[in-house]
């Protein structure tokens, strides 16, 4: 099991949100499962991500759904490039 930094967890959440985009957005339960983090850590991080404009929260009758913003999309693309860059050196971001 590899230790994940905060930025890795954020990218995991963004990847999970992006995966659910075709369904109109991602639900909390799905994100918790895919990002593999406890609920309190998840709320802290998603709050910061919303403040930084990486994701948006759409309130629904039953819970809320999360969507990737254009800024979040750009952040994720750039992150993937650097991830690939360091992987090419045999390293992890």
């Amino acid at each position: 099991m590899t230790y994940r930094t905060q930025i890795m967890i954020i990218s995991d959440i963004l990847k999970a949100v992006k995966e659910e985009s075709p369904q109109g957005g991602a639900r909390v339960s799905s994100l918790l499962r895919k990002a593999n983090i406890p609920y309190n850590r998840f709320t802290d991080l998603t709050e910061k991500m919303v403040q930084n404009g990486l994701i948006e929260v759409i309130p629904q009758e039953r819970g809320a759904i999360y969507r990737l913003t254009p800024k979040g999309e750009e952040f994720l693309e750039s992150y993937k490039k650097f991830e690939e860059f360091v992987r090419a050196f045999g390293l992890r971001l």
């Binding site: 360091v86 090419a88 050196f89 045999g90 390293l91 992890r92």
Partner: protein
């Protein structure tokens, strides 16, 4: 002939300097965005390698022993930081074997400080090469196999450099091998160039 070799040698040093600086700057850009320790290590490491290459290119002109040693120490420090980043991020279970293998392959042909420093460089490069190959095999990453070739070329040039101190045609060939090694290491930079259009779309 000697001045021709000197000019070729300086051009090769400059090319090595540019490639290592490019890798260092891209890594630093990534670090400022993502605060990743790996990118910080990669950046410091390639800045030190660039400093080492610069000192050695000036040594090729004025023959200062101090600059030769400074270049060797700086390059070794760069490889040490790169090795540390491997230890912190992807250390394989057979790390001890990697180090043992590197020790087994190292050759101390003199007790001179410069040779010892270069030998440490060789050991670190061997370790980095072995770790990169292990990472590529374990993660089935073809992309990681390419830089391991680059590291192996740098290892080869460092090894052969231990036996050559005077500017000869062979030394120029070794510097070309080292430059090719650096160019291979810079190959991942194409990720940023080739996919620029994709990001903007």
């Amino acid at each position: 002939m000697s001045s021709f070799l000197a000019i070729i040698s300086i051009i090769l040093f400059i090319a090595q300097l540019l490639v290592s600086l490019l890798i260092a700057i891209v890594s630093l850009t990534g670090y400022t965005s993502y605060r990743s320790r790996t990118l910080l290590y990669l950046s410091i490491s390639f800045f030190l390698i660039a400093l080492g290459v610069s000192a050695q290119s000036i040594y090729a002109i004025n023959g200062s022993v101090f600059l030769q040693l400074l270049g060797a120490v700086s390059e070794t420090a760069g490889y040490l930081i790169l090795a540390i980043s491997h230890v912190y991020t992807v250390r394989s279970n057979i790390m001890t074997s990697s180090l043992a293998l590197s020790f087994a392959l190292i050759v101390f042909n003199s007790s001179l400080v410069y040779t010892v420093v270069k030998s440490i460089s060789l050991l670190l490069l061997l370790y980095i090469s072995v770790e990169t190959v292990i990472f590529a095999v374990q993660n089935r990453s073809k992309a990681a196999l390419i830089p391991s070739t680059g590291f192996l070329l740098l290892t080869f040039s460092t090894y052969t450099n231990l036996f050559l101190n005077t500017l000869t045609f062979n030394l120029v060939l070794i510097e070309i091998a080292k430059l090719v090694g650096f160019l291979i290491l810079a190959a991942p930079l194409t990720i940023f160039v080739l996919r620029r259009g994709h990001t903007e779309s």
